[in-house]
Symmetry: C2
């Protein structure tokens, strides 16, 4: 038993719905997002007791601990990421999924990709830290989640595109606060945006559907709206990362509007063991 | 409208079944294989009349022409690959899928990834050049095809592993001759190998299941069997690429046995537009 590392892309969600079920692996969301080349690298080492670190800082992370206990693994987990935490990039989902992939290998648990994905998705749902990031992060590309839940229940498609992506983060937002409140308005808005993208699966339509969702679900804060408007006035396309105080844009949208964004790409591969 | 390129990984099949349906998009195979970093790059340019070239040589390729006519696209298609043709690497499937992805973008057809995959899979089935390569090439990794057909019907899983792969090709074998003959024996053997890998989704079990299939389906030629035995005697794992006179091995299996193989990796991403 040795140390094993896995990489999981970041994931910004443009629009989503919420679907609850008694079974956490059937709970989830429909929606659309972007898998990013900026992601989370998770290293798992068998250890005397379980501990979790994020960028060298010890943290409590329920989803990671659930994954480890499901795999009957006691390990030290080290996650490294350039992504801002709590800002809508799926860092918690990435840590859960990366832990599942790496621990399966380190402890020779012999599970399939779907089995590991089911475990990580269920753990993230139980921890109330996300509903759709894990399945999107496993797939990569520009995932469209047509049906909710883990791999035994869901249905995925994708937009065939690999644009350059820019992002700019203004601060944190708690996923748990939003998804555990009244979510009817949000789910209705999510369904409308999803229909729009299913009808026309292009990046242009994705960005418009994302802005429509942010507005209709009443999740836009004034400062985020201002940044999006700045990009629009510079002839760019931007929207809000769900759920974080983050604006993401296609191409050079934020740069053209005078911001100093982080630049990355679409990650086509999805979650994978390091070679 | 401009020139667009797409990359599709090669795919060697270790074991498979055959499932026929009146609808080509429901026809396909179950089985397991490896998506390879050696693949096919397909460039599509709008043109006055359709033409297809493979490594600069004009060829007839029904699957590519079916894809173009479905997309109502008249184009020059140029495919480049380091892979040996007709040797079990899914070059025809790669050309069909790469053409679908690139033509969708070049002609602004606004289809989703699943729609393009359905078109390419159906075209490959109609041309009798393959049954499962296209869906595996779209996914990437080490795809396990649990249910046959295009993305609306099939069910995929994967082995979470990224071994180094070596291959050695002895000559060509016609896919059409094998899959249009009596295939009961083959399908029974394929089901047994698939069960084995579902029970234990590891690379070791995949290689054993592949050798079992080659033997039970009576597809091994004496010269391929000799190469596989050489690898086994050098403590390696090898099997036969379905359908070609090709031996593939994990790690340094063929090198250790004294061969001079081509070396590549698992392609985790699957088919994608070039950036």
């Amino acid at each position: 038993m040795t140390e094993v590392a896995a990489f999981v892309p970041g994931h910004v969600t443009g629009f989503f719905t919420i679907h609850r079920d008694d079974d956490p692996t059937k709970t989830g969301s429909r929606g659309g997002g972007l898998a990013l080349s900026d992601g989370v690298t998770v290293t798992v080492r068998p250890a005397e007791e379980t501990s979790v670190r994020l960028n060298d800082v010890p943290i409590e992370m329920d989803a990671v601990e659930t994954v480890l206990s499901t795999l009957q693994a006691t390990a030290r987990v080290d996650a490294e990421t350039p992504l801002p935490v709590g800002s809508g990039f799926g860092v918690s989902g990435g840590m859960a999924l990366g832990t599942a992939l790496a621990a399966n290998q380190a402890f020779d648990r012999r599970l399939s990709e779907n089995e590991l994905l089911t475990i990580a998705h269920g753990a993230e749902v139980q921890a109330d830290t996300g509903l759709g990031d894990v399945v999107a992060q496993a797939r990569g590309g520009v995932p469209i989640r047509l049906e909710p839940g883990g791999p035994q229940d869901n249905l995925l498609d994708g937009i065939p595109a690999r644009p350059r992506i820019e992002y700019h983060t203004l601060g944190e937002l708690s996923t748990e606060d939003v998804i555990s409140g009244d979510t009817d308005l949000l789910t209705q808005a999510g369904k409308r945006s999803l229909s729009r993208v299913v009808k026309e699966p292009t990046m242009d339509s994705f960005m418009r559907a994302s802005r429509q969702f942010a507005r209709e679900a009443e999740l836009l804060t004034p400062e985020i709206r201002d940044v999006i408007l700045d990009v629009t006035e510079a002839d760019g396309q931007a929207s809000m990362a769900m759920l974080g105080k983050t604006v993401f844009a296609l191409g050079t949208g934020l740069s053209d509007a005078g911001y100093d964004p982080v630049v990355c790409e679409i990650d086509a591969a999805g979650a994978r063991l390091d070679r």
